[in-house]
Each structure stands twice: as structure tokens, then as C-alpha cells.
Amino acid sequence: MLYLDYAATTPLNPEVGEAYFHLLKTKFANPDSIHGLGLEVEGLMERSRALIASMLGVEAAEIIFTSGASESNNMAIKGVCFQYQSRGRHIITTTVEHSSVYETFKQLENEFGFEVTYLPVDSQGRLDLDVLKQSIRKDTILLSCMAVNNEVGFCLPLEKIKDILKDYPNCHFHVDMVQCLGKLPVHLDGIDLASFSAHKIYGLKGSGILYKKTSCQIKPLICGGQQEFGLRAGTSNAFTNIVLAKTMRLALADLDQKIVHVRHLNQRLRDYFSGLPDCVINTPEDGSPYILNVSMLRYKPEVLTHALEDHEIYISTRSACSTKKLDMSRTLKMMGVSQEVGMSALRISLSHLVTDQDIDRFIQAFNDILRKVKQQRK
């Protein structure tokens, strides 16, 4: 099997699995119980929180355990809007966000009456900062922007946004860092809230965190308990939270070398695709090396994906959170690509686990498929 869909999810690191299984076998108590059994579990969970904080260079009280990045995104965005709506009801995001951010903004716009500005990007995924400068106001209370686009892999200019936001102290800055953690360096200074996911870094599904700067307040989405600083009621998913520290530590180990290796793999694929006729590479050169989005013109992407599957090679056509919809990827649409390019996109996403032989195998299989599968007529 050759798995090349690491942006969708990753296999569990066996070391994390072992730690988790050990916890399941040996412990069960509720960390909020006042007896010794509970205390022990609480201690382990808080130790995990402190370790995660130190890996991100922040305080333990700024790390909130969640069920994953979609929850973190909802919690951050709605939490800030409900908390600060008396200061203003204008919020900003981009047109290329993950659906858990985009739909949350739609909901705030349509159901809760917030005014939303959606910042556009150009064909290279470059955000139009002039539009940001023009649209941001004194009553803008939130700007949410992803670090790396999940479908196409371009990076958003966080540092430049931070500079602009310096003049707008009322505007909180939330960043969806899911495709950044464990792949590119994470810098949280100048950011008020950031979402992370465990299953994208070889951890458990149903596990994530929200970083929330102490100075930023949010309203809880789930009320009714003291867990997670009163911001997320409900018995803690303790073991999942405990092993997240280990997950992160392993994912961040030797990150520099991993990046160099993945860049090399990415370059090989780029070289290959740029030699193919009727192929457009959608990911800009300066994008994340972990994602390569290409359009094979006049091929149905589903057909190519299933043909690769016959070779036990797994890639995807777009974000797994939007595959049930039939039209073209929103990100590509917003980048302004043609219908033809947009409707034939494939996403290959890499990992340090992928080898040079794997890339050989992929290229061989893809050549084989292109010989067999018919292109549609012009």
C-alpha cells in the first residue's frame, strides 16, 4: 500500500498507540474526582498540558483540550464573537478557509447577524492585503485565517497580517494551524487563538487543542462544568489528552530533517508533473512542501483516484471534509482557476514516512494509468 493522503489524516504512531493502550488497561478514573485515582489521572493530564505548552512556547493555562480542530475553530470563532459582540459585530476571514471556519462564519453572518468580510486570494493563493487594510475597522473584533491551505497548500501571510493588526487592538487573531503543526515551524506570538489537530500528526482521531492567549476571553460553547477552565464542560477525554503531548513530541522531533526530505520528494513530483502534457500544478512554488495539488486536464479526478486505488495507491481529490459535494473545490474556485482546471484537481499529500522508492512507484503507476485511461474530448 502507498498512502499519499496525509493531509486528510495520518496513521497512528505506534508509540502513541502503546501509551494509550497502557492507559486504557491500567486506569479509568475521572480526573475531576477528588479521590486518589482521579488525582493520578488529573496529574497526568495536566503534565501533558504543560508539556504541550512548553513545546509551543506558551503557558499551560493557554492550552484547551478539544475533540479536534473543527471544534477548536468553532470554539475560537464563536467564543470571541459572543464575548466581544458589544465592542463590534464586524468579523473577517478569507474565502479559502477550511469548511469548519468558513461555515462558522456563514452561520454567524446568517443566523446571528454579524457582518463578515471575506478576503480574496489571487491565482497563486496570495491574500489581498489591501482589501484587508480597507475593510478592517475599529469595530472589527475577529480575523480568522489559516496558516496553510489544506487543499492547495499555499501559505497565508501571517506575519504581514500581524503587522496590520497592531493598529487594531480590538481585533483578535485566530489561526487554523492544522496543516502547519509538525510540518512547518509554529510561531504563536502575535496570535490570540490557534487550532491544532492530533490526527494530522500521527495521533488519535477526536483529539485537538485550542491555544487561547490568557488575555483573550471567550464564551464557552458547552456550558455546565469546570473542565478546561470552564470553557468546555463534560468529563475529560483524559487518556486522549494525556497522549497528545507524546504525539506532539514525536511529530516535532527532527522536524528540520523531515522538512528537507519532504521538500526533496515534493520536488521530484513537481518535476514529474511539469513534464506531463495537459497538467497544471496548482500549488505555488513557495507553498507547503507537504501538499501538491495538480489538475490533469480533461481527466475526471475520481477516475484517476480509483485507478490509482487499483495499484493500492491512495490520494484524494480535495479536502475530506467536503468530498460529498459535487462541484469544484471552493479554494480553487476562489483562486479564480478555470472550470476545467478546478474540476480535474488531485491532491497528493506527503509525509516524512514516504520514501524515494514510493515516489518511483507512484510515477510508474501514474504513467501506466495515463496510458490506459481515456481523456475526455475537448
Partner: protein, 398 residues
């Protein structure tokens, strides 16, 4: 190019004439102990400096640990280069590029007077090189520079450094003997421990537990506080006193308003006995005048007289807000405010005597054999060793 050295400057001890050697040896030993987990570090001790060679260890983590070693006035991350003008220029230029800021200044200290240029000449020459090679829009500001590069020119090797990082100050822990810290779990006593250690006094801790009236969480909290103090003293012994029986006896034999005072007298007696057995020269605690009934001057007088050992009260004249600020700085505040009962908060009388009298206390202590119970408490104490290098059963989970 990367930082490869830390240059450590000693604190107050440079003024200490004859004792100097003992002080430096102790500081050196404490530094090595605090940095024990960084296996690759090596050290060079000279007359007035300690050089730590990083050998690839993470400079951020090492500096964080170093900030907690008492006796260190300040330290700097440095690049060690051979004493040649070209090498010095390159290192200085690298540091300027790396550091944020638009204005800079070069400070040169020439220990090797045989070097053919004077300090100002070296500074000018290096600054010239920086201007020539920088990508930034730089200017020199000798009064309030954003970036201050220090060059220490020595005979063989020179050190090029960026900013000075403040150390913890004080005296090396252990140079001033040992004290027994009464550690309740509140905000004040860990701060008292910190300040005691800062003056070079090693600590052991005594904690009174009254299970089931006090919980495992309270005990756990105290051990966590000790864990925070471990940053200043890597190994700390903690004596946990089983206090329940004695505490119940006190409430049986004493009127409610005096129960607190008599209880504190018993705690002092036990602390002194433990201190004597553990070679502690004094007792240290977090009492502060007037904070609670047991800490009025009248109370202190009625309580203190049961022992004849010095009692150090480092926070005695500090405002609560000042103590809280220090607690936050040393990282104990968030642990201290967890709401678990400790021995002083259970059985709290509604109206404790704020002006207790010694004679009355003595009357209430007659007619029952508290001495035997005090001895029992001392004998039955559980001694734990809390340290940075303690065996970690759960290491595999992280």
C-alpha cells in the same frame, strides 16, 4: 554560526574576600547539579567567570534552568572565537543580524593588553564591518542602543555576546547552612522558602497532614510546590507529619478560641524536634504580620516562646500583594490557590483569639500528655525526597 557558550558572572560573592573560594566552589557545584540533565555540557571555571560550553544542547532550555541558580548575577549567550579581528567581526555581524533593532553599540573589553588595537579602535573597526555587511537599515546609538554587542577579548579566545540576561542573584544555596521550612500549601510558605534559599540557606520542608480531614490532593499539592522549588535546589527532603491524632486531642482539651494558638505551638514543637534531628539551624515559615489571627504579634509571641531556635520569617513585613507577585514569579501561585483543605483551615474557629496569652495556653496544655504525642508525630514522620532527577514511573506516557 550559532551560540556555543554561556558566560556566567558571579553575584554578590565577588565582594566576599576570604570566603570567595568556598562560594565559587559551591556555586559551581550547584550550577552543575541544576544542569545535570543536559549531558553534553562542559565547564571551564576561571578566576571571575564560569564558561559553559553548550556542545549542541538547547540554549533556550539551558538558560531557563540557569536563571534559577542563586549566586549568579547575570549571564550571556556567547560565541567563542579565536582572538582574531576577522573572526570577531563575523561573529558580531551575525549577532546584529539575528537580533531585532535598528540601532546598535559595540562594547569592547580588552583583557589581553598585548592585542595591537585599543578597545575603542576594535569597536570602531567591528562597527565598520557591520555597516558594510548588514542587510538592515542600521545606525549607531551609544546611549540607548537596541542591540548591544559585547566583545571580551582575551589572550587566546574571545567572546562575542549579545544582551545580558539577569540571573537569580543571592548566594549559592547551601553556603549558609540549612533551615526547616514549614510548608502548608498556601501562597506564603513557598515564597518564604524561595527567599530563604536566595540567601544561600538550604531547605528541608515539614508538612502537617491530617487525613482524612485533609486529602491526598492537599498532600499532592504540597509536593508539587516542592517541585517548583526544586528549580532552585535540585533535591529537597520533605517530612510529612501525621498530625490527625494530636490535632483531635487539641480540640478535645482546648476551648475553641485558643485551639489555633495551641495547634501552632504544637507545630512549632514538632518542627524544632525534626530540625534538630535533621541538622537544621533554623525554622523558616510564611508568617506575615496580621494576616490571620495566628499571625498577630500577640500570637507570634505566644507561639514562638515554645521553642528556642531562630525562626526566619522572610515575608513577615511584606504586603499580601507583594507576596502574591513573588509567588507568580516563581510559579507557585497557581498551585497554591487550589482549594484543598489543609490543617490550618479545618476546624477553623469562628472567633479565634487574636491576642492570645501565653499563660492561658500553658493552662490548656496541662493535664494531658502532649509531649508524648509530639514525639510520636516526630517519630512517625514520612520523609520523601523530591528532586529533579526523581524516578519517573510515567515517563513512557510522554
Amino acid at each position: 554560526m550559532e551560540y556555543n557558550h554561556i558566560l556566567v558572572r558571579f553575584g554578590e560573592l565577588t565582594t566576599k574576600g576570604k570566603n570567595r573560594k568556598t562560594f565559587i566552589q559551591k556555586l559551581f557545584q550547584n550550577t552543575k547539579e541544576a544542569l545535570l540533565r543536559f549531558e553534553h555540557l562542559t565547564y571551564e571555571l576561571t578566576y571571575d567567570r564560569l564558561y559553559i560550553l553548550l556542545n549542541g544542547e538547547d540554549q533556550k532550555e539551558v538558560t531557563e534552568a540557569l536563571k534559577h541558580v542563586f549566586g549568579i548575577l547575570s549571564f550571556s549567550l556567547a560565541i567563542k572565537v579565536p582572538t582574531e579581528l576577522e573572526a570577531i567581526k563575523e561573529a558580531a555581524s551575525f549577532l546584529v543580524e539575528k537580533t531585532e533593532g535598528q540601532t546598535f553599540k559595540i562594547d569592547t573589553k580588552r583583557n589581553d593588553k598585548n592585542f595591537p588595537m585599543t578597545s575603542p579602535e576594535i569597536s570602531r573597526s567591528v562597527a565598520g564591518y557591520i555597516f558594510h555587511h548588514t542587510q538592515k537599515d542600521l545606525s549607531v546609538d551609544v546611549h540607548h542602543p537596541d542591540i548591544r554587542i559585547r566583545i571580551e577579548l582575551r589572550q587566546k579566545d574571545s567572546y562575542v555576546m549579545n544582551d545580558v540576561i539577569h540571573g537569580a542573584g543571592g548566594y549559592p544555596v547551601g553556603i549558609g547552612g540549612k533551615a526547616l521550612l514549614m510548608l502548608s500549601g498556601g501562597i506564603d510558605s513557598p515564597v518564604a522558602g524561595y527567599l530563604t534559599m536566595k540567601r544561600g540557606v538550604e531547605i528541608e520542608c515539614i508538612h502537617f497532614a491530617s487525613p482524612p480531614y485533609t486529602s491526598d490532593r492537599a498532600r499532592e499539592k504540597v509536593l508539587e510546590l516542592v517541585g517548583k522549588l526544586n528549580a532552585y535546589q535540585p533535591t529537597i527532603r520533605v517530612h510529612v507529619i501525621p498530625f490527625t491524632d494530636l490535632q483531635l486531642a487539641i480540640y478535645e482539651h482546648t476551648p475553641e478560641s485558643y485551639a489555633m494558638t495551641v495547634m501552632r505551638r504544637m507545630m512549632y514543637r514538632i518542627a524544632q524536634r525534626v530540625a534538630e534531628q535533621e541538622n537544621c539551624l533554623a525554622i523558616s515559615n510564611g508568617e506575615s504580620i496580621g494576616q490571620v489571627a495566628s499571625q498577630t504579634l500577640d500570637s507570634m509571641k505566644a507561639i514562638n516562646c515554645v521553642i528556642d531556635m531562630p525562626v526566619i520569617r522572610p515575608v513577615v513585613c511584606m504586603d499580601k500583594i507583594e507576596i502574591m507577585e513573588l509567588a507568580r514569579q516563581i510559579g507557585t501561585y497557581d498551585i497554591s490557590i487550589r482549594p484543598y483543605e489543609d490543617c490550618c483551615t479545618i476546624f477553623t474557629p469562628k472567633q479565634p483569639a487574636t491576642k492570645p496569652r501565653r499563660e492561658k495556653c500553658e493552662t490548656y496544655e496541662q493535664g494531658w500528655d502532649f509531649n508524648q504525642m509530639v514525639e510520636d508525630c516526630v517519630a512517625a514522620r514520612e520523609t520523601l525526597i523530591i528532586g529533579l532527577d526523581a524516578v519517573d514511573e510515567n515517563a513512557d506516557l510522554f
